[in-house]
Amino acid sequence: MQMDNSNLETEYSAISTLVKRKEINEGIVEIVSDSGEGAQKCGQSLGAISAKMGNGVWTVEIIPAEIQPPARSKAGASGIRVRMGSGKITNMGDYADLVIALNEQVLFGRIDQHAFKPGTQILIENKWANNDSEEIKSQYSEAINHFKELGYKVTEIPMEEECLKIVRDARKGKNMWVLGLLCNIYDRDLQIASDQIKYVFRKKDDKIIQSNLDLLLAGYAWAEENIQLHFRIPSVKSKDDFVVMNGNEAISLGIMAAGIEVCSMYPITPATSATHAMAEIMESAGGIIHQAEDEIAAIGFAIGASYAGKTAVTITSGPGIALKTEFIGLAAMSEIPLVIVDVQRGGPSTGLPTKVEQGDLLSVLYGAAGDAPKVILAISSIEECFHFMILARKLAETFRIPVFVLSDANLATGVQPFKRPKTNPDWFAPGVDQHPLPDDYKPYDWDPITGISERSIPGQKNGMYTLTGLAHDEFSNVAYDPAINQRASENRSKKLAAIQETLKKPKINGDDKGDLLLVGWGSTRGAIEEAVERARDKGASVSSLHLHFLSPLEPRLKEIFKNFKKVMTVEINYSDNPGTALITEDNRRYAQLAWYLRAQTLVDIDCYSNVYGQPLGPGRILKMLENKLGIKLVEEI
């Protein structure tokens, strides 16, 4: 489409110079509404615009449990948080500085979740003040007073009224008016903003695009005149290209970039959206998504595809992992390359399907009966969601081993810009080998040191063998001699030691000795490192270590731990609180990584963990450090 916006441009520059602006180096905005009011689209656009301007950004969606929750309800809060900064932003942060609310009720859920602090600016739709229903009217005014009591700065805004000047149905469009409002408040580049709108509505007709542009400008102008909040967030525009996406989208891109051709799945929150991102494009990239009848069939199908050709991937979440357990044992036993992505959610059982937890580590590590060695990788950023898929595929192929990649609900929906990867053909799996094998080929000709053996793929002459889950020898013949099972088990286990050999001693964030070392894995990285930096700025002797390989573990951890007075893991999963009645050293149940590291290193590793189902903010961690170290770290609010 083409449209003339020369006049627009002048207009922009005209406006965007008038006001005085306070320079801040970050801002956290939330847009909260009933579902279906487009709050998320508004926030994602704000994030993209900011990223284009060279700001660091992290956005995370606020998702209600139901498809269409009751309007104006606490549980129905739907929306998004956008954290923008002059530097790199790696997590959602703590309290919102500014909140746009399309009704008052949806804020109560956020308040329960400690999303706001005294001083938080709340810009709220004022139409409820004179609603026909007395009940709503009073709900509204009571809420406003309540918010003020809580110390929030409340500004009532005639959003509906203003939008109706431009569109007939304010529900469709209010979000772009709000975007304009925010663009003014945070000094976003209107040219970039309008391009963003054109991109978002690219499939709609020009009229719609034009009216949304009008709304943008109207909101912008209204803020200019009526609002006293004007900030500037300095940014350094890097010459690199960037992409902005959420973790699940990055995983789906990574799968394609790895040259994986079969993604076999069964829908489950929060993993499914990764396949949605893929479904449209994967076929043109030479791959296909198979939606199986259940998780067992999904992994069975992936295993069949891997066995017969290129390493396949299956993607799921906790309940699905449980169902895949038996097949994972088979993959480990018969050494079938396979990638399993686990986008973790709150457990146990159905638990908190849309919320974050790091609760699957031990179940993937030990899930299957007997000794079933597997590789476990943990993703700690959106960017890694992309690159680890390529690594996982290579590991699976080279070592003939199932490789788990652990993500979680926080990464799945978190959005962050990262350096645009340049697709590299070396990332792709090689073509399916169909060359004849030597007459004396053995399907499990285990290398005595590494346990690695060369697999044969149907179609290869002399490669014929019967793969089996029964104990078997080098020829895959069923083992009747007891010595065989011991030997085969040793060889399968050696592969993990061999992989560890290829790993470097992990880097530490901060000094490599001190009072306290925090150890984390997965999506908590940004929050932990930010907290550690803030604590160190205040003179605390604390460092952090973030693990990406969980099986095998990264090397020389004990050596690292020895240099700290105290070591503790920070995780989002359950652990007993030593304070609790009946909980003793004899029975305390530790967080999952802590448990695992204690066994491997015998270091007395403590843990800080909880199952609130929310991403850990740096502030929470800082508060914990304050108690542990007895130093003042958090400024009271």
Partner: protein, 319 residues
């Protein structure tokens, strides 16, 4: 199953002469008199007649006496998990149209723990041959009731006799969507069994063949009456069905003419199992959707196109 050469990998296409021995691996470890032996022999014969390259042929099974089958073939084999042969076979076939894939399953493996996959495998209708070795019992685990055990069968889990009527695998399959080939035979009628295997092999789509199989160790009482009484078997006959030589037809007292294109009729005939055991082709439809065609439609795209597609997607997220 018609083998298609995929364009994404180079294959040595020189034609060889394969003999029976080229398909026979270690001696089958089934009991003497087990129906498995005759089935194995006829499958090997089929491979030879059709000159299937052993390295292009994959037998996929679950767990059970019957599922030991792949170990006795000198082809590729996948002796997987109990009840899960179908998903694995589907995954194998999905991107490898050039492979001849056979599924070997038992009545417990297919109709009990594997029932969900069975339902969906019929619906996927991928170009494979599925052989249900139905001995009406759990053999490997030593005589427990199977979903196809006749009502009242005395087993180790039902010493007072089983309490539910058996699943009729033919009828159940005929009720499923996209069903394209349903036949029945038995291990002690080799001519018919072989003809059935051939018909199944040449069918484009999933050929579901239930083979009534003898388990002399545990289930003598179930098949012996059928074996002894010439009335007990009814031959389904039709020019589009399983073709037998006249002389072997002679051995059947009951012959019904049945047009395998008639699904409604097929279901009607499938009901007669209470009185007799019908063998032959119940239903065939060559034109049903094949999920493996969908799986293969974008095989072997060039590295360039692959990169381009990824970069296009990447553009959407560019800032």
């Amino acid at each position: 199953m018609i083998a298609i050469k995929p364009d994404f990998c180079d294959i040595d296409t020189s034609i060889l002469e394969y003999n029976l021995e080229d398909y026979a691996s270690s001696k089958a470890r089934w009991c003497s008199g087990c129906g498995g032996h005759t089935i194995l022999h006829n499958v090997q014969k089929l491979c030879k007649e059709e000159q299937l390259a052993p390295e292009k042929t994959v037998f996929v099974s679950g767990i059970g006496c019957s599922s030991r089958f792949p170990h006795y073939m000198k082809t590729y084999g996948f002796h997987g998990l109990h009840g899960r042969a179908f998903p694995v076979a589907s995954g194998i076939k999905f991107r490898r149209p050039d492979l001849h894939v056979f599924v070997i399953t038992g009545d417990g493996d297919c109709c009990s723990i594997g029932a969900g996959h069975w339902v969906h495998a019929i619906r996927y209708n991928m170009n494979m041959v599925a052989l249900l070795f139905d001995n009406s019992v759990y053999g490997l685990t030593k005589k427990q009731t199977s979903p196809t055990s006749p009502l009242g069968t005395v087993t180790n889990t039902h010493p007072r006799g089983s309490v539910l009527p058996p699943i009729n695998p033919i009828q159940a399959t005929l009720g499923l969507p996209n069903v394209s080939f349903v036949a029945q035979s038995c291990d002690w009628k080799p001519a018919h069994l072989y003809a059935t295997l051939q018909k199944a092999y040449h069918h484009p789509g999933l050929s579901f063949v239930r083979i009534v199989q003898r388990c002399p160790v545990f289930m003598r009482d179930v098949y012996e009456p059928i074996l002894k009484d010439p009335e007990a078997i009814t031959l389904l006959d039709h020019e589009d069905g399983i073709l037998l030589e006249e002389k072997s037809k002679k051995s059947f007292r009951h012959i019904i003419d049945h047009d395998p294109s008639d699904l409604i009729k097929a279901r009607e005939i499938a009901e007669i199992v209470k009185e007799t055991t019908p063998i032959g082709l119940f239903y065939q439809n060559r034109t049903a959707n094949k999920y493996d065609e969908y799986g293969a439609h974008n095989l072997g795209i060039s590295t360039e196109n692959r990169i381009e597609a990824i970069e296009n997607l990447m553009d959407r997220f560019a800032v």
